[in-house]
């Protein structure tokens, strides 16, 4: 799955659901970027598993919805924190 977040910057976040292990480090890091604290509901990224197969679904908000802020590509950070803290490399950046 590809999230085209900043077409004007030609940047995209590529999501490989198969590699995701459900650790939530990306969600925690994302919430810290937005709110300077840890809150699973204040992140732009959501990672959940469904059923006995643990089918993983990752959603990156491209628009702000209630508390969930839109991804701003971690403006002000050296790189998107979700990508930095994705140990199994399920999240990758494409473009520059």
């Amino acid at each position: 799955m590809i999230f085209t977040l900043f077409p004007e910057k030609h940047m995209r976040i590529i999501v490989d659901h198969e590699k995701c292990t459900l650790c939530q480090l990306c969600v925690l890091a994302c919430s810290f970027h937005h709110a300077k604290l840890f809150n699973m509901n204040r992140a732009s990224i959501e990672v959940n598993a469904y059923g006995k197969e643990r089918k993983i679904k990752i959603i990156i908000n491209e628009q702000t919805e209630e508390e969930k802020l839109a991804c701003d590509y971690c403006e002000g950070e050296r790189e998107p924190l979700c990508i930095k803290y994705c140990i199994p490399k399920a999240l990758n950046i494409k473009g520059s």
Partner: protein
Amino acid sequence: MNVFDGDVLRINLSNQQISTEPSRHYMKRFLGGRGVNQWILFNELPVNTDPLSPNNIITFGTGPLVGTLTPGACRLSIDSKNALTNGIGSSNCGGRFASELRFAGYNNIVVKGCSETPVYLLIDDDRVEIRDASHIWGLTTWETDAMIKKEINDNQIQMVYIGPAGEHLVRGACIVTDLEKAAGRCGLGAVMGSKKLKAIAVRGRGSISVKDPQAFFEIVDGLLEKLGRNEFLKRRGEYGIYCQVMWGENYRESSWRNFQGGYIPDPEQIAMINPDVFLKKFKQKSLSCFSCPIHCRALHEIKEGPYTGLISEGLENNDIQLFGAKLNVFEPSIILKLRSLCNQYGLDTDNAAGVIAWAYECYQRGILNEEITDGLRYEWGDFETYIKLLKTITYRKGFGDILAEGSKRASEIIGRGSGQYSIHIKGQELMEQLWVDKGWALGTVLSQRGGTHTRGAVLGSRFTTLSLEDSKKYYSMENIGKPNQYEGKVKLVTYFEKIQALADSLGLCTFATMIWAPAPDAINQTDMTRLLNVTAGLDFEEGDLLIMGERIHNLEKAFNCLHTDWTREDDYPPIRFMREPIKMEGPLKGEYLDVNKWDEMLDEYYELHGWDRETSRPTKEILEKLDLNDVAEVLKKSGKLGKKRSGNNFVNINR
């Protein structure tokens, strides 16, 4: 809230009262998780309470690091009076329940009393509800998971629950979270069942802040880097928890047929359960607990044979020892089936396989026959009978009703000399083999929750490649030595006891610490101290934290003194490990536990702890040194304080 904020949520199921209190004053002395839980139990649980009576208390606690980005900070410690031993009950699990509870604003849940009808708790931030669970009672853990999610229309709600084994008060019943992560030992599922508490569901939307974010992120980045280069953890991440050939040339020790002989004689059987078989034939993906980079939970799927379609998460070394070595099942898909059944019934695998192995050895020796076993022939490795037994134990049907009591109690009911084949520590089934590795044996036997290797045991084989420099720097040992050497192991066990108490109280998974993942690339006490200081704004020194670990360990010891009559005599291993050396040809042949050496280790152990060498009880001096004056006072009033002694106090264990 800051990591040191949050509440204790108190629920009385007898009168439906719900209240909260800040937990900070508990945390100052006992950190969180296991430490705070144990303090509440020591302070509030009446002596002589039957573990399965309404008077027992069950506590669920998270640690101050849970809910932050700290790697491996995901654990939930569940503590109560032990349904098997009457001493402390303490077990923990990973998953996402602990962090969700923290986000809801709670560090601990304390459940007292007993409901008249089945209930479950629903915690939705500030809203706490005791809900009817009549329609869920009787369901397996997997069915319960699906039912509650559907009922409250929340697919991502986090839960702990029991299966039918807990409902039927099976003494080896566990508590499960997220389908297959279990707080296994100590019969805590039966305690929940006795309270008619089927589940706790939690949804938290709150925040957790850290005092010094910049310093915190620097530490986290450093930890992720070093955990990422730890070769052992890499392997664990690739294979799953079961990742090493336990029966390599030098470590073929096993629990074969209820610990008869000490090894698996057939190399073909060993090959059948090689980790590579599970990796190549069954593994689908790696999964993590909350905030953990190790992703050690392998998801296996059976794709052929009678159990096609079964998906099972988190195969452990224990499963291989239990169903493979102990019960002689070597077909990997059947091992997966058996462990999965235990998780669905809410049976602890260690306790279930332990009592079955006892019954099988008794049958093998003619102590049990078909008249007692409901007509079943007990033949080692016959998995269909094992499947039947797991069910009869869970529902306490026929002979299963006796097996549900655990092998110690069952042997007291059966008599006929069956007690010598009950391989237990203080009443709880033993999973661990104890002939070779002396630090492993000592830590396992002295574990205050009744056996088990996760309270100070040293897995010596894990440290054989440790450099002398790292040995000294991280473990304060000139040389950890070979696994089968007695020398130096006592000091290491007492050190691991403290580190383990800290990890369990901070909410850290022990796999990420230097107890299981060898230093230098693992979380050590310096890391723990720094994490606590920068997140909570405290000013601890390393020594302070180690004292905290020792305090928690002594608190549990004091609980055991108060609630049991255990003495030095209860700190010896099952006689089999002293009388029946390993028979296998090769480097381990003849290994056993020497009783005189054991006595020397015990003396040194009590001495290092400042405990009475005759009774094993803590002395007033050590309790006061650890800021446990109030605990010393309680023990004094009960006549259970230890005395300072000199000379040896060996117990004659030639029983």
